[in-house]
């Protein structure tokens, strides 16, 4: 038997084939697009109803989020308690989620209970009534939640940052507690009627969905759900970035300062996006990134630091975020600047780049854990108007991009001087 050499890493293999499951597509007679992923061993299914948000109204900034959150609060047929009772009795989960571009309803249910749970969803997306008493409860509780969030430095920093980049738009919304008082039941009803119509809905189904289940879905959502005369207006007004680049909110008692630094950026639809994802990963996109290695693992200034990119319909952003010891906040910012600039002046060594290539491909493979993950990948493409060749392009970029290309991209897209900088805490 040979002696075990523990200093020698075992042989390893690159990630070669990444296969994505593609959905079946069907368009209902009322214009609702349905995408179905039938796969998996468990007798369960996740169904999402995804609606484009309506045009942002600065006078009534909370309509999109309030209409979505209150979908479970009562219909012409069921009150909030009855909705909750039915869903919970069948062991199902009903979620409503709001994001900048879309609002959605998600149902997780065992396939055997589909016939009992689907009518509830149908009811809430066609017959919601936003009862007055429920609206009062919603306003009161949201105001309280917001008050707590406003005491969190990272929350405040994120809001200031989004507002600086996007201005008074759906992407820059930074609601104050009193904004909730502007919510009126009549506005919610009108908003609901215009937004939650079939032509503005995409259904994404993932799990055990045989012919029978699909027929049931089509039947339920094709009959008795019709479009309004006017289509949903989902166009958003242009962004209004702030001229001011530096925002400092002092919190004299802070033990840590929240830092958020970044800039409006290209989104997924741009041809350079996969390449800048590699750039971002090297800088701050994984545990071994330069920001983590320097600011956490070498200096011990923070519990965590990272960089990331957001991709929305109308915009995108690149950002670096951390919470650091209040006494080392300036040093942390200057180290961040150093790391950003180093990407522009020095080539990434081949050893580091090959590690990042393998890490990103392994990560892509690992992100395809189950049928839900395949549906999530599809949504990334579909809502950005991209096709499956995006992931082929992504994998090929990760494998082949050179250190020179990356340096050129850093110079093309990153200018630390011009980045927005937000500090909440002490500086």
């Amino acid at each position: 038997m040979s002696v075990l050499n523990r200093k020698q890493a075992p042989q390893f293999n690159g990630v070669e084939n990444i296969t994505l499951i593609r959905p079946e597509h069907k368009k209902l007679a009322n214009g609702c697009n349905v995408y179905a992923f039938n796969s998996g061993d468990q007798e369960l299914v996740r169904i999402e109803w995804i609606f484009g948000n309506l045009r942002f109204n600065p006078e009534k900034p909370l309509l999109n989020v309030a209409a979505n959150t209150m979908l479970t609060d009562g219909t012409t047929n069921m009150n909030a308690a009855q909705i909750a009772d039915t869903i919970d009795f069948y062991g199902a989960f009903l979620q409503v989620d709001y994001s900048y571009d879309y609002s959605q309803v998600t149902l997780y249910t065992l396939t055997k209970h589909l016939a009992s749970t689907l009518p509830v969803i149908k009811d809430i997306i066609t017959n919601s009534v936003f009862p007055k008493k429920e609206l009062e409860t919603f306003v009161r509780n949201q105001q309280q939640k917001l008050q707590v969030s406003l005491q969190k430095n990272d929350f405040v920093a994120r809001r200031l940052f989004n507002k600086a980049l996007n201005g008074e738009t759906i992407y820059g919304l930074a609601a104050e507690p009193e904004d909730f008082k502007s919510l009126e039941r009549e506005d919610l009803l009108a908003h609901f009627k215009q937004m939650y119509q079939p032509a503005n809905c995409t259904m994404v189904i993932a799990g055990k969905v045989d012919e029978h289940a699909l027929d049931l879905l089509s039947e339920t959502f094709e009959n008795g759900w019709d479009n309004q005369a006017a289509p949903a207006d989902t166009m958003q007004p242009p962004l209004a970035p702030s001229a001011e680049r530096f925002f400092y909110t002092e919190k004299p008692a802070a033990l840590q300062s929240a830092i958020r630094i970044g800039t409006p950026f290209i989104n997924r639809t741009h041809p350079d996006f996969p390449a800048v994802q590699v750039l971002n990963t090297v800088l701050g996109g994984y545990f071994g990134s330069r920001l983590m290695a320097n600011i956490r693992e070498d200096k011990g200034y923070t519990y965590g630091i990272g960089s990331g990119m957001t991709s929305f319909k109308q915009t995108g952003s690149f950002f670096i975020a951390s919470e650091v010891g209040a006494d080392v906040c300036r040093s942390a910012v200057s180290e961040i600047e150093k790391e950003v600039n180093r990407m522009k002046t020095e080539l990434i060594p081949e050893e580091e780049l090959s590690l990042v290539r393998n890490f990103m491909l392994g990560s892509l493979l690992g992100s395809l854990e189950n049928v839900f993950s395949h549906a999530d990948k599809f949504k990334n493409l579909y809502f950005a108007g991209l096709d499956y060749d995006y992931y082929e392009r992504y994998a090929s970029t990760v494998k082949n991009i050179t250190a020179e290309d990356l340096q050129a991209l850093a110079n093309k897209y990153w200018d630390f001087e011009n980045f927005y900088k937000v500090i909440v805490g002490k500086y």
Binding site: F89, A92, N141, G300, G362, E369
Partner: protein
């Protein structure tokens, strides 16, 4: 039903293999049977600090993370009051790298002074970020010593104080490793696109040569039954009052566990739960309210927690929480309501089988508790709970002299008042 195979190496390392060919990935999860409860009262937070040091290089491998990232893998770890759990996810074709890395740090760490210095700082920043610089962040630092007087659950995993972290020395690190990080104190689960025969060979090759070490025998102080009502009121710069009522309950392995957990579900799981319907919606006394259990291996906590809406006093809030508990003590839960929480538990277990990592962690935890196969019998135990059993547990737990009440009062600063007005 999660199928698995199981074997034990000569040095005492228990190994479980869960074959799942639907994924191209593999998971390697190692649970060490050591948590904050095993700490010296003068050196709290040590198990967690130690977890950080496990990433600071091992005896033959100076850097833990980079070689794993290089083969497309990711990892993380967590520490609780009971256990420390490390996990790796990577393409199954590169599984041997995980064996190489994990076996070397079970063999011995590098015990680098620089790593200790840096991780002390990182953990201190974690302490600030999660416990001190957040509204209500220090609740558990206050609630635990109220509920526990003897047992080490009286401190949180992060530790009692930053001072304990600052004082950690390299000799302490070495001693802790020797005492707790032995093969016989660990359970390894390998899952995903793997074959049991290959795992046997890999386990023998990489973990087989590690010395068994000395057996650690846990002798913790037992928490005496609580005999008096406990209360504490604190004031802090937060926007809203917050009320906590904690009760001592039996440990995770006690036969009453499943009834007590379903009781917490009846109170607060989902929008159809009693607390939400009654106290948030109907009576509008709370903006949020929860009931949950800590699932500790030794004597645990059943916690009621809620933020009263503006204008509702903490006395009113407390009384409303007690009223819900009295209802459970006086009347059996209707059959439909119990069926509802059982159905929810059943579907949650089916959904958890969607995640390979969740399955691996569960198998490791159940094996550490005695037998991985018990994971597959959990559903039946929940289904067997009767309304009478829940009523019995309610009467046992929800007594004033078994309660610890923490009232967290808002001290309104100008800044906060400005935000409200």
């Amino acid at each position: 039903m999660v199928k698995f195979n199981r074997f034990t190496l000569d040095n005492g390392l228990r190994v479980i293999v869960h074959e799942d060919s639907t994924t191209p990935m593999a998971v390697l999860n190692i649970l060490y049977d050591v948590g904050a409860r095993d700490e010296n009262p003068e050196q709290t937070g040590f198990a967690h600090l130690f977890e950080h040091l496990m990433f600071g290089g091992s005896v033959n491998i100076p850097n833990y993370d980079a070689p794993l990232q290089r083969v497309g893998g990711e990892n993380n770890a967590f520490t609780s009051n009971d256990i420390t759990n490390y996990y790796i996810t990577l393409p199954s074709a590169n599984l041997e790298t995980a064996f190489w890395l994990e076996s070397d740090r079970m063999l011995s760490l590098a015990f680098s002074k620089k790593s200790l210095e840096v991780q002390r700082n990182v953990v201190i920043e974690e302490f600030k970020q999660r416990y001190l610089n957040q509204p209500y962040g220090d609740v558990w630092l206050k609630l635990r010593p109220l509920v526990y007087k003897e047992h080490p659950y009286r401190w949180a995993t992060i530790g009692k104080t930053i001072k304990h972290i600052e004082d950690a020395r390299i000799e302490d690190v070495k001693a802790f490793f020797k005492k707790h990080y032995t093969p016989q104190n660990a359970v390894m689960v390998v899952g995903g696109d793997v074959k049991t025969e290959d795992i046997k060979a890999l386990a023998e090759k990489w973990f087989g040569p590690i010395p068994a070490g000395e057996k650690y025998t846990r002798e913790l102080p037992v928490e005496p039954p609580q005999q008096e009502e406990r209360r504490e009121t604190v004031t802090a710069k937060v926007p809203l009052n917050d009320v906590y009522i904690a009760f001592q309950m039996e440990g995770r392995l006690h036969e009453s566990f499943h009834a007590v957990e379903l009781m917490s579900d009846i109170l607060s799981r989902g929008n159809s739960s009693r607390l939400y319907k009654s106290l948030v919606k109907d009576k509008a006394l709370f903006s949020e309210v929860h009931a949950y259990i800590t699932e500790s291996l030794d004597k645990g906590m059943f916690v009621m927690q809620g933020k009263p809406v503006e204008g509702v006093s903490t006395e009113q809030a407390e009384a409303a929480l007690w009223q819900e508990l009295e209802n459970l003590k006086n009347e059996e839960v209707p059959a439909d309501e119990l069926t509802k929480v059982k159905n929810k538990t059943e579907s949650t277990m089916v959904f958890s089988e969607m995640s390979l990592l969740d399955k691996a962690m569960n198998l490791a935890f159940y094996e550490m508790m005695g037998d991985a196969d018990n994971f597959n019998h959990e559903a039946a135990k929940y289904l067997a709970v009767t309304p009478a059993a829940i009523k019995e547990q309610a009467n046992k737990l929800f007594r004033k002299d078994n309660s610890s009440t923490l009232i967290y009062l808002a001290e309104k600063t100008e800044e906060i008042i400005e935000a409200i007005s």
